[in-house]
């Protein structure tokens, strides 16, 4: 009897916490397009996979690419996706089918800043289907985080308690069940055609201080995992191409020195790895008929609006072809 009670305590404790966790995950974590991406790579087979950051998510239309190249493409770029995350995303894709080609969208900022600890940095892990890759990803990333991030996925979303009703409503709707995108329209942005479409907002954009590139602050993990990604591709005969998306001319001018340094550094670095690097801010890769003015972009950092994104994707498709 005594022994039974001794076991009862931890068992009841773990079950209670698991139940609360389940409930709060459901009520606090809003629906995200990461869930759609994970659904896509589990159910469909892709030839071309885009990995990268928010610039890629806003700037690359997999629909345009698929139409122009005839190869089925998926865009898995996300804000907060570091090379480490990209590596495990690719591994997850390969559990279904090995793609022919991977395009990594490179933002030098992700190579010289520490990986933050916020909800969206954790989202890929949370939405990833149970798999061996997920276990590996856990040991590669989650273990370094605050234990609350790993054990209580709702931790970073606890501030959402005011929107709980709405979140639950969305999750109970048909759209959610069918992996629909209706929930993501917010007036200026929607998730459709497999990427984030920004409605053009003409006019001046506020200047901001940007972290572009500082070699002294290298994030060694980013380099390490990118190299893992590169050798992963090489071993499996997957073509790997690295691109940097266009940014506004004004930003390019103000941060000319950093951009040049970054370009020179990564040209040299990627060449050493035997990879092609297409930087669409360099003169030789400037896209014809593309509006490089700040007014056309969504913001100073250079997130593209939907028209720019489609024009850029068309060019990218042509270059890839």
């Amino acid at each position: 009897m005594r022994n039974f009670k001794r076991i009862l305590l931890p068992v009841v404790l773990i079950l209670t916490i698991a139940a609360v966790n389940l409930g709060l995950n459901y009520a606090l974590i809003p629906y995200s397009y990461v869930r759609i991406m994970m659904h896509q790579i589990q159910t469909e087979e892709y030839d071309t996979v885009f990995l990268g950051t928010s610039h890629g998510l806003n700037g690359i239309s997999p629909k345009v690419i698929t139409e122009k190249t005839g190869k089925n493409a998926v865009n898995l770029s996300l804000g907060g996706e570091y090379p480490r995350d990209a590596y495990y995303l690719l591994k997850q894709v390969c559990e279904k089918k090995k793609p022919e080609r991977v395009v990594y969208e490179l933002d030098p900022g992700y190579w010289c800043t520490p990986e933050g600890q916020r909800g969206d940095f954790n989202r890929i892990f949370y939405e990833m289907p149970a798999s061996l890759t997920k276990v590996e990803y856990f040991f590669a990333k989650e273990r370094e985080l605050d234990f609350r991030a790993a054990l209580f996925p709702w931790f970073y979303y606890r501030g959402q308690f005011r929107d709980m009703k709405e979140i639950i409503q969305v999750k109970q709707g048909e759209d959610y069940k069918n992996y629909g995108t209706a929930a993501f329209w917010d007036g200026g942005q929607e998730f459709a055609d497999g990427f984030l479409r920004n409605t053009p907002v003409p006019g001046m954009k506020e200047e901001k201080d940007l972290v572009l590139w500082k070699e002294a602050d290298r994030n060694e993990d980013s380099f390490r995992y990118f190299e893992k990604l590169a050798s992963f591709c090489k071993k499996r005969n997957i073509e790997l191409i690295v691109v940097t998306t266009p940014v506004p001319a004004e930003t390019l001018e103000k941060y000319a020195k950093e951009f040049q340094e970054a370009d020179a550094f990564f040209q040299e670095y990627l060449e050493r790895l035997g990879l092609e690097y297409w930087n669409y801010n360099c003169t030789e890769r400037k896209i014809a008929d593309f509006d490089y003015s700040l007014n056309a972009f969504t913001d100073y950092e250079g997130h593209m609006n939907v028209q720019q994104a489609e024009a850029f994707s068309a060019q990218l498709a042509e270059d890839l072809w």
Binding site: K5, R6, L8, L9, V12, L13, T16, I17, V20, P114, G116, Q117, R118, G119, E142, R143, E144, L145, D146, F147, R148, A149, A150, L151, F152, W154, F155, Y156, R158, G159
Partner: protein, 512 residues
């Protein structure tokens, strides 16, 4: 490996599970292995410094014990021992001093001479202050004949590197800690539960109370010009943050050691209930205080030149003052060391000096106080006087926190002035105090309520403990359902009400 990281939890789990599965005579080796894994995970190169201190102190201890064999008389023996001691102290404190204070010296030289010497890029080994102090305490104990030298290098290495405590103390004594580390410990569920509860309580203090308070502290102390009306809130929040961060970290460390059957020394005893600054230092960072008392205060006070000073003082100022004055001087020296220990900056020197000065002053005034109290018919036992003393000490301590936290001495004085002249609580709802991911003030009131609620709970617990109630024992007697509820609440409140613990995810005292 930060104390709040997932990998640390897994690490402790693995260490504890294996500890009770292997034959008990290997338990200490198991702890040594895990302690070194822990240390090396923080950087391979800095481990050299740890090994240096371990080996040099070990050799000195063994050597010192062998001295009587090779010498003729007591005098010679003493001299030889003294040489070994001096060498060990100079070497180890030298390393600590160079690594921690070189850049402070360079900065000071630059600002005085207008020079432009480049600061050096120095490695700072984890927990260097703590393990250096612990090891030097060991060698001094051997020198004074208070303990025996350890003859097994690996056992000694465990004493220096025991992983729960190496990062932020408590500073252990070889006499009590060594025995426990090398003994075998059998599996005891009650002890594990006690440790588990202690760990949760520590995380609660750190994540829920301290990490909410730090938002206000940082906003107010880093922008004293914007929040000039909130000095009082800032300093109170800082006293909450500092106590909950440091003592919460200690609870985690002591709880983890409990899992291995090892009782570390307590580092905190409800410091804000202290009735004097002396009393405060008997309750705050206790192991540093007793270390300073045994290894700095007494030796300095009893040194030859202090004796001469005492004679001179007695002749010049009369017996009573002459007797107390040298003690006051020794005390000031101790607190300067404590101040410098807190960090290489002038504000910490002021902080130490301030504490030392108050204690020296009350030491000198003690006989007069006794007379006054008699004349005014104030009894030490009266509740009113007791509360008055507590309040007075709390105010004095808070003044010292200004120096501890403010950017520099000048800012500290400015903030103190503003606290008295510009008090304006409305500023707390001005935007800028950002809670978590949400900017603006949407969560300010919630964070304040959490801090307040946490402090009420903490106060309640502290009062019970202060009245001699052993809460862990009371908890252990509850039935499993009550326990499950308490555990579940403590666990779930960490993510629910706690704040992310900064980019570094660290405890304040883990940088020493």
């Amino acid at each position: 490996m930060s104390l709040i990281s997932m990998e640390f939890l897994l690490f402790v789990l693995l260490a504890a599970a294996g500890y009770y599965l292997i034959p008990s005579k290997y338990q200490w080796m198991w702890l040594l292995a895990f302690s070194y894994i822990y240390y090396i995970s923080g950087g391979f190169r800095v481990t050299c410094f740890l090994i240096f201190t371990t080996v040099s102190t070990y050799l000195a201890g063994v050597w010192m014990e062998k001295v009587p064999e090779g010498v003729q008389d007591k005098k010679e023996e003493k001299k030889r021992k003294k040489q070994i001691l001096a060498g060990t102290l100079v070497l180890n404190f030298g390393v600590l001093g160079v690594l921690k204070y070189t850049n402070f010296v360079i900065g000071t030289v630059n600002s005085i001479s207008g020079g432009d010497f480049e600061p050096l890029q120095l490695l700072l080994p984890l927990g260097i202050s703590f393990y250096t102090f612990q090891s030097m305490g060991y060698i001094l104990d051997i020198y004074w004949g208070r303990s025996q030298a350890e003859h097994n290098l690996f056992r000694f290495a465990l004493f220096v590197s025991f992983f729960p405590q190496i990062l932020q103390g408590p500073i252990g004594r070889f006499g009590s800690l060594g025995k426990q580390l090398y003994a075998s410990h059998s599996f005891e569920i009650d002890r594990l539960e006690r440790g588990f509860l202690r760990i949760l309580w520590g995380y609660f203090k750190k994540m829920v109370i301290a990490d909410n308070a730090v938002i206000f502290v940082n906003a107010i102390f880093d922008h004293p010009d914007i929040y000039d009306g909130l000095g009082l809130v800032g300093v109170l929040a800082y006293s909450v943050q500092l106590y909950c961060d440091f003592s919460g970290g200690m609870d985690v460390v002591i709880g983890i050691a409990d899992l291995f059957g090892i009782r570390l020394d307590e580092n905190f005893k409800r410091p804000y209930f202290a009735v004097s600054i002396t009393d405060f230092w008997h309750r705050w960072h206790i192991t540093l205080g007793t270390w300073m008392k045994d290894y700095v205060f007494y030796p300095v006070s009893l040194s030859g030149w202090m004796k001469s000073f005492s004679k001179f003082a007695k002749k010049s100022f009369g017996k009573q003052i002459g007797r107390t004055l040298p003690i006051c001087v020794a005390n000031l020296i101790v607190f300067l060391v404590v101040g410098v220990w807190h960090g290489a900056a002038w504000k910490f020197i002021v902080y130490g000096f301030y504490n030392g000065l108050i204690i020296a002053f009350s030491g000198l005034m003690a006989p007069s106080y006794r007379k006054w109290k008699k004349a005014l018919h104030i009894s030490d036992d009266s509740k009113g006087f007791y509360l008055f003393q507590m309040f007075r000490t709390f105010v004095l301590v808070n003044i010292s926190w200004y120096f501890d936290r403010a950017g520099d001495v000048k800012t500290a004085f400015l903030m103190m002035k503003n606290t008295l002249t510009k008090f304006d609580l409305r500023q707390i709802l001005e935007p800028g105090i950002e809670i978590g991911e949400a900017s603006g003030t949407a969560y300010t009131m919630i964070a304040l309520a959490v801090i307040l609620g946490g402090c009420v709970l903490l106060f309640f617990v502290s009062v019970l403990q202060e009245n001699g109630k052993d809460l862990t024992a009371i908890f252990a007697r509850q039935n499993w359902l009550v326990k499950a509820v308490v555990y579940a609440c403590l666990i779930l409140l960490l993510p629910m009400l706690g704040q992310p613990s900064g980019e570094a995810g660290g405890f304040i005292y883990a940088q020493f």
